[in-house]
């Protein structure tokens, strides 16, 4: 009898969903000020089931497998959101339910509209650029006039080879690296033509001997710990490396160089999967994300720029005034985005990328 009673108790404990409203959020790790989540629950009575991932690919596979059970997810606009939109994985956002929608930066909305026409399925959350991260002292020692704010720093074999001895890492991402190489060559960074890709591949094969590793996150610790002196990566990650290096026992100065030729702009977005079990609560959560206070707190945490205009005023000067986070108008005008590739183009690019990496 007692066993049965215990079992019943367990069952009732295990299914609070029937008793309380909830929203299932699947986000990047360290990507929202989590203390604000309690405020959300207090204000709305909606419990937040918050889980995290650390790669777009994992999210992509989960959504494509179906019945993920998530109400709000945070994919990067290109290529993942685009790919997922093509597979019709998202439901349109009911804009009438988002009273904070007007807070969003119209310029960023316009960029995002290239991927999601009419901004029907996703709202921008955080954004940043891709550029050069470097160890100031090590670079100066080897080349006092190093062009740290140029793509040549990475893609010119004569320059990058001077830093091979202290370690160079670049992103392990064909979708991020090919556009940058094309930009360096003065070609259209969004080009999908085989001829252009071949030229970009030649550039990367030439710098291959100088590159210690291709990886999309290890460079944060490697840069901070002095294992490498040069990286090509996401602005926010390099700022994280800077902060970690500043806190370390052995101080190292890490800096970011946004490419003057024009940097690739990436946007992470929030969207509601088509089969979200709680679409109503999902909209409430999106509206919560659009609150300036939430966006500002999250930017303070991550060191990324947010898409929320009124939030800028709430930010610390060290963030709002940092040209590496919020680039000045002139640099912002040169930011570029890329469109998604089809399956054949993706394969061709991945194949070329693997060949470059393995030095074949």
């Amino acid at each position: 009898m007692r066993f049965l009673a215990g079992l019943l108790l367990l069952l009732t404990l295990a299914s609070p969903a029937t008793a309380q409203k909830q929203v299932n959020v699947y986000n990047w790790s360290d990507y929202i000020a989590e203390d604000r989540l309690k405020v959300f629950t207090a204000e709305t009575g909606i419990k937040v089931n918050y889980t995290t991932y650390d790669s777009n690919e994992i999210l992509d596979a989960k959504l494509k497998a179906g019945r993920s059970g998530y109400d709000v997810v945070v994919p990067t606009a290109s290529p993942f959101l685009v790919r997922q939109l093509a597979a019709k994985l998202y439901q349109p956002i009911d804009k009438a339910k988002l009273k904070n929608l007007g807070n969003l930066d119209p310029k960023l909305m316009a960029e995002l509209a290239k991927y999601d026409p009419g901004n029907r399925h996703a709202i921008p959350w955080m954004w940043g650029t891709i550029g050069v991260g470097y160890n100031v002292a090590e670079i100066r020692k080897r080349m006092p006039d190093a062009p740290v704010e140029s793509l040549g720093m990475i893609f010119d074999p004569k320059i990058v080879s001077r830093f091979a001895d202290c370690g160079v890492m670049v992103l392990d991402s064909a979708t991020d690296m090919f556009p940058a190489a094309l930009k360096y060559l003065g070609l259209d960074p969004d080009s999908k033509s085989s001829a252009d890709l071949a030229k970009a591949a030649e550039v990367m094969k030439a710098i291959r001997p100088s590159i210690r590793k291709f990886h999309s996150s290890e460079y944060i610790n490697a840069l901070a710990g002095g294992d490498i002196c040069l990286a090509f990566g996401y602005s926010g990650d390099i700022l994280q490396a800077r902060d970690r290096a500043a806190k370390a026992a052995q101080k190292r100065e890490i800096a970011y160089g946004p490419p003057k030729e024009g940097a690739m702009l990436w946007i992470d977005t929030a969207a509601i999967p088509k089969d979200a079990p709680n679409p109503e609560q999902a909209h409430r959560f999106l509206d919560f994300m659009l609150e300036p206070k939430v966006a500002a707190a999250s930017s303070t945490l991550t060191g990324y720029a947010n898409a929320n205009l009124p939030a800028t005023a709430l930010l610390d000067k060290a963030i709002a005034g940092n040209p590496w986070i919020y680039p000045p108008a002139e640099a912002r005008a040169k930011l570029y985005t890329i469109t998604a590739a089809n399956a054949e183009q993706t394969r061709e690019r991945t194949r070329l990328w693997t060949a470059i990496k393995t030095g074949r």
């Binding site: 690919e57 597979a87 294992d227 194949r351 393995t358 074949r360």
Partner: protein, 278 residues
């Protein structure tokens, strides 16, 4: 009673045959990125064809097999003396020695691999020691090389080699070695003609236990290896996640399975024969 007998079969069907059928079905489907899941079911051998015609995949297979084979060999060369020493230790000591072999398993595999990263990095503990001690001023970096992959695999899989070897050697009647020596065999020939053939089942089991997972290993080459080393596990990951090509990823998985079924069958037949013998 019938239920008890049926249970393992049920388990096999639900957790092996069903998923295997699914993967097989997927491998014969066509990639359709605009669908969710991104496949169009059918009977297409395009994925397999691509797998066998593109030399990139072939290279990945070969380097996976090569790395798995050398790692297995190193594991055998390291594991055999270890297992031998444990089997010859006094019985009260053996549990302690075995425990030391198994002890690393108490820590998460991932944490142990990360620990190696900390040891082998450019400014890692190993290089710091080499520089501090003055043994080498410019030791270079092991992390990110094929050496690091081998090291990682040998470290992670060594217990899988030692345990079956120990089981085989522990059963060995040591008076057989005395007999060999009594009949005029020097220590090395005695080892080669008596110990080695009698521990063969342990050698085969240990090698399979190391070789099979090492061929498909993903985490170790990803974390410890450089980008220059291409392994089939990484290819599978790339196809599934980066290219979102589930059929091709499934085809890789099926080929991996077929490749590894061969040695397993061989092992089973050998086991069968040794059973008939006794």
């Amino acid at each position: 009673m019938r239920l008890v007998i049926a249970l393992p079969y049920l388990w096999l069907v639900v957790f092996f045959l069903l998923p295997l059928g699914l993967v097989l079905g997927l491998s014969l489907a066509t990639n359709a990125p605009d669908l969710a899941p991104p496949v169009e079911l059918g009977l297409s051998f395009a994925s397999f064809k691509l797998l066998f015609t593109d030399d990139l995949y072939l290279a990945a297979w070969l380097s996976s097999l090569r790395i798995a084979a050398t790692s297995t060999l190193v594991c055998l060369l390291l594991g055999y003396p270890m297992a031998y020493a444990i089997a010859r230790a006094t019985p009260p000591r053996r549990p302690l020695l075995l425990m030391l072999v198994i002890l690393p398993f108490w820590t998460s595999f991932l944490i142990r691999v990360y620990a190696w990263m900390g040891l082998l990095a450019e400014n890692g503990i190993l290089n710091q020691f080499l520089r501090w001690s003055g043994l080498m001023s410019d030791p270079g970096t092991i992390l990110g090389t094929e050496w690091a992959i081998h090291l990682g695999i040998v470290y992670a899989y060594l217990p899988f080699m030692v345990l079956p070897l120990y089981t085989a050697l522990e059963k060995l009647d040591w008076s057989l070695l005395e007999a060999a020596s009594d009949l005029g065999a020097r220590p090395l020939p005695a080892f080669l003609t008596v110990t080695l053939p009698l521990s063969l089942p342990g050698i085969v089991a240990g090698c399979l236990l190391v070789f099979i997972p090492a061929v498909g290993e993903f985490v170790i080459p990803d974390l410890l290896g450089g980008t220059r080393t291409l392994m089939i596990g990484k290819v599978l990951w790339d196809e599934f996640f980066t290219n979102s090509d589930w059929p091709l990823a499934s085809a890789v998985a099926i080929c991996l399975l077929i490749l590894l079924v061969g040695p397993i069958l061989l092992f089973q037949r050998q086991q069968q024969r040794s059973l008939e013998r006794t």
